[in-house]
């Protein structure tokens, strides 16, 4: 992940990490992603909001583990050999916060070009439109570029 390169090509292309959640593919902005780790034991936090049900230990830091599947109303699958945790850094109240995101599968780091960007359709979607930055096309498939700040706030 070359941050500088991603920055230069911001205008035309965007580096993303392609992850799978249920049947859908999501493209996370590579600039947000800090690391991708194997599943670790989770600690449930009683009374927390449903989409951040637990915390995990990542290199000595206790960080929240978010479940996007709950936010998008998808069924939760049990961990499989493909399950990974993508650690991303987002801003909440102007402070950087590390958050783990469970992914059923991590495909690859790739580029999607601005030309492929589609407007988020207002109808025919059962997801809240504010959770989605835009929808892009990748290898003849539609992928969702989620708005992580919105989803986690």
């Amino acid at each position: 992940m070359n941050g500088g390169l991603a920055g230069e090509q911001q205008s035309s292309a965007m580096q993303v990490v392609m992850i799978g959640l249920g049947e859908e593919k999501f493209a996370l902005d590579a600039g947000l992603v800090r690391e991708i780790i194997d599943p670790v034991p989770v600690t449930q936090v009683a009374g927390a909001r449903a989409f951040v049900p637990s915390v995990i230990n990542v290199r000595g830091n206790v960080i929240p583990l978010a479940d996007l599947r709950i936010r998008f109303g998808m069924p939760q699958l049990d961990n499989s050999a493909d399950t990974r945790i993508v650690v991303i850094e987002i801003e909440i109240d102007n402070e950087p916060v590390l958050v783990g995101v469970t992914a059923d599968k991590v495909y690859e780091v790739t580029e999607i070009s601005q030309a492929d960007v589609q407007q988020t359709p207002r109808v025919g979607m059962h997801w809240k439109p504010e959770f989605i930055r835009f929808i892009a096309k990748w290898r003849e498939e539609f992928v969702i570029v989620p708005n992580m700040e919105r989803i986690l706030n």
């Binding site: 600690t43 936090v45 909001r49 915390v55 206790v62 929240p64 909440i92 109240d93 916060v97």
Partner: protein, 694 residues
């Protein structure tokens, strides 16, 4: 890394000296006769002048010099430090601070005005007749040909960078000196420490200078040396007489010069104080009467060697210790699961070391809260003058220690609270008189340990909160419906509402309604809480409850269902088994502990634990202050050194946990927030009571 900007070093040092100076000046306002205070103020000034010149702050040096000259007359006891003089001296101090911190923004004219004021005060009330002490301070010079000095330095003086030879050179500048080194302290070569100073000096100074001039030469090393000083008469003295001794315990300049044997009949003796008059031959060793206890403490602290460490390094050290503690927990767990005895021994050894290393590191971060309290004395002094409300400011518990980060965070909230207390709390003199109170208001600032918490209280004896007015204001702002039933306590909570102010007029100090909400937020960010209590006509008390530390605590590790949790050990009173009888009383959530009813919470319900509960449920009794509450868990695992990691913003809505930690197996465990659990249990308990009563 260690190459610090020398000017920065000076700034740091100066800021400490300013605190000393300010404290001494303010104290002097209370007890103008305390010579010790005058001396300590003078010493601070002198050091600022000296170091200022050394680091190129020439303006500071020259201004301080003028200040010092004016203040010298106070030191000589020629004039009394009046309140007005102290106000000017404080202004002068502020000006020097400004010169050091932000030289661009200062104006020479202000400095000159301050100096003029200072000189005016100092010269205005020149006493008609010299004060009795004055001639004693500088014995009649005409009669003496100089001084006989015997210098004995502490052996480690060279390590502190002082060079006795330089001091001797300075001494020579006062007049012709006859210096004889005394070599009898030099040990054999093989016992000699190359860095120690073994020489002593016998000096005859043939100059009619004052004793103060000699003291000034040794001002910076007076704690590390023994100076024996006697006036040199025309007839040589037989032996040096220890007139005053400067030592660790009593580094105080004696006020009187006692005569040498030949001089017994001379005039100074006649004027000397009774005790030396009674037995002048017994080498009178004059010590000042015991200073107030508080000062004594200060003296002792100075004796202890201290090292200046950058705050970031302490933070780094704490982080490393945190990581070590976590690694040690893993080792202990690994050792416990194996059967290798020697590994177990090492694990235990490391556990012991890690725990003492943790305590030491935390200790290094602890700062007495007194350093913070000192700052507010000036605030109270200025506010009370500006508002013409005489206020007595009383502090207690200055030696209560808190983590340094917390001390820093506490400064702003306390400023708000003290301002509020003086501006809103204390009534004006007329109102006080009408209510039969003394003219002088009283603000008490206190810190005290209470279990795992430190309580900091700001208490005034003013008019108390006006509940009706707060309520009216809350209704006006639409925060509550008119006629809603609220307890006084609930109404007072509106004070913490952003933008809420009941002050009729907006003063320069307060009334804009910005403050109390900030105070509350700051305290809550420190995992503390804030309480208000008020009695109409008698005053208001604001209590801040703060955790002792932010970094590592001793915890009790428990298991509830599959999950493991930490309870801060300092809150745990005892652990009891939940009896079958308690177990049966499903509906009634309190148990009987030696005759006392203690409400309890079932953690399994709270944590929505899955799986079957353990057959023998354990109850951990926790307490905050007076209140005791039981927590029912499946298993008590044991002690755990808990490195506190804060929970992220995503979990800021979860109140029953105060943080998280990492266990030996690398999983995260949550730390229970005792105060929250107790209030939760209390409210449940009370509801139940109401239901039962109904």
């Amino acid at each position: 890394m260690s190459a610090m900007d020398p000017a920065e070093v000076f700034r740091q040092e100066a800021s400490e000296l300013f605190e000393v100076l300010e404290g001494a000046l303010l104290d002097l306002g209370q007890c103008p006769d305390d010579r010790e205070l005058v001396d300590s103020a003078f010493r601070a000034l002198h050091t600022i002048k000296g170091s200022g010149a050394m680091f190129g702050f020439d303006k500071v040096a020259s201004f301080t010099h003028e200040f010092e000259t004016a203040f010298d007359r106070v030191r000589k006891g020629e004039i009394k430090p009046t309140q007005e003089l102290i106000s000017v001296a404080l202004a002068a101090k502020d000006y020097i601070r400004a010169l050091i911190e932000d030289p661009q923004s200062t104006d020479d004219i202000i400095g000159e005005a301050i100096l003029d004021d200072l000189k005016r005060f100092v010269s205005a009330d020149k006493p008609a007749a010299p004060v009795v002490e004055a001639p004693l301070l500088s014995p009649p010079e005409s009669k003496q040909a100089g001084w006989h000095l015997y210098l004995e330095f502490d052996s480690h003086i060279l390590r502190n960078g002082s060079n006795p030879l330089d001091l001797l050179e300075d001494l020579c500048k006062l007049g012709p000196c006859f210096v004889v080194p005394v070599t009898d302290g030099i040990p054999f070569l093989d016992e000699m420490e190359p860095e120690d100073c073994y020489l002593k000096w016998d000096v005859k100074l043939h100059a009619a200078c004052t004793k103060d001039a000699i003291d000034d030469v040794f001002m910076f090393v007076q704690d590390e040396m023994k100076l024996t000083l006697s006036p040199l008469q025309r007839v040589e003295a037989l032996a040096p007489v220890p007139l005053f001794q400067l030592s660790e315990e009593e580094p105080v300049i004696a006020e009187m010069a006692a005569p040498v044997v030949e001089a017994v009949a001379e005039q100074p003796v006649a004027r000397a104080k009774p005790q030396s008059e009674a037995k002048p031959e017994t080498k009178p060793e004059i010590k000042r009467e015991a200073a107030p206890a508080r000062r004594e403490d200060g003296k002792q602290e100075r004796g202890i060697a201290t090292v200046r460490v950058q705050a970031e390094r302490l933070d780094e050290l704490m982080d490393r210790v945190g990581e070590l503690v976590i690694a040690q927990a893993r080792l202990t767990q690994l050792a416990a699961s194996g059967s290798d005895l020697s590994i177990k021994m090492i694990a235990e050894e490391i556990e012991r070391l890690a725990s003492s290393l943790r305590d030491t590191t935390m200790g290094a971060r602890m700062v007495p809260i007194g350093s913070l309290f000192g700052r507010f004395r000036r605030l109270v002094h200025d506010l009370s003058r500006d508002l013409s409300k005489p206020v007595e400011f009383v502090t207690s518990g200055e030696d209560t220690e808190l983590d340094k980060t917390m001390i820093e965070c506490l400064a702003d909230p306390l400023v708000h609270l003290i301002r509020n207390a003086i501006d809103h709390g204390i009534e004006d003199t007329a109102t006080r008189a009408a209510n039969g109170k003394t003219d002088q208001g009283r603000i008490e600032l206190a810190a005290v340990h209470s279990g795992a918490q430190v309580l900091v209280t700001v208490k005034d004896n003013g008019g108390g909160l006006n509940t009706a007015r707060i309520r009216a204001k809350a209704e006006e702002q639409g925060l509550i419906a008119a006629g809603a039933v609220l307890t006084d306590h609930e109404i007072h909570q509106f004070l913490f509402h952003p933008g809420f102010s009941t002050a009729q007029t907006i003063s320069a100090l307060s009334g804009r309604g910005v403050g109390m909400d900030v105070v509350k937020r700051t305290i809550e960010n420190m995992r503390g809480s804030i309480d208000l209590s008020t009695r109409p006509g008698q005053g208001t008390t604001v209590t801040l409850r703060l955790p002792l530390t932010l970094a590592i605590i001793e915890g009790l590790l428990i298991r509830v269902g599959e999950g493991r949790y930490i309870i801060p050990l300092s809150a745990v009173e005892e652990c009891v088994e939940l009896t079958a009888e308690d177990e049966r009383s499903r509906g009634r959530n309190f148990l009987n502990v030696r005759g006392n009813l203690v409400p309890f919470l079932r953690l399994r319900e709270l944590m929505a634990a899955s799986g079957a509960p353990d057959q023998h449920q354990k109850t951990i009794i926790i307490s905050t202050g007076e209140t005791r509450v039981g927590l029912v868990a499946d298993q008590i695992i044991g002690n755990h050194q808990t490195v506190i990691k804060s929970l992220s913003k995503l979990h800021s809505d979860v109140t029953i946990f105060s943080g998280a930690t990492i266990l030996g197996d690398g999983t995260a465990a949550l730390i229970l927030d005792v105060a929250q659990l107790v209030s939760l249990a209390q409210s449940k308990f009370e509801k139940q009571h109401i239901n039962e009563a109904a």
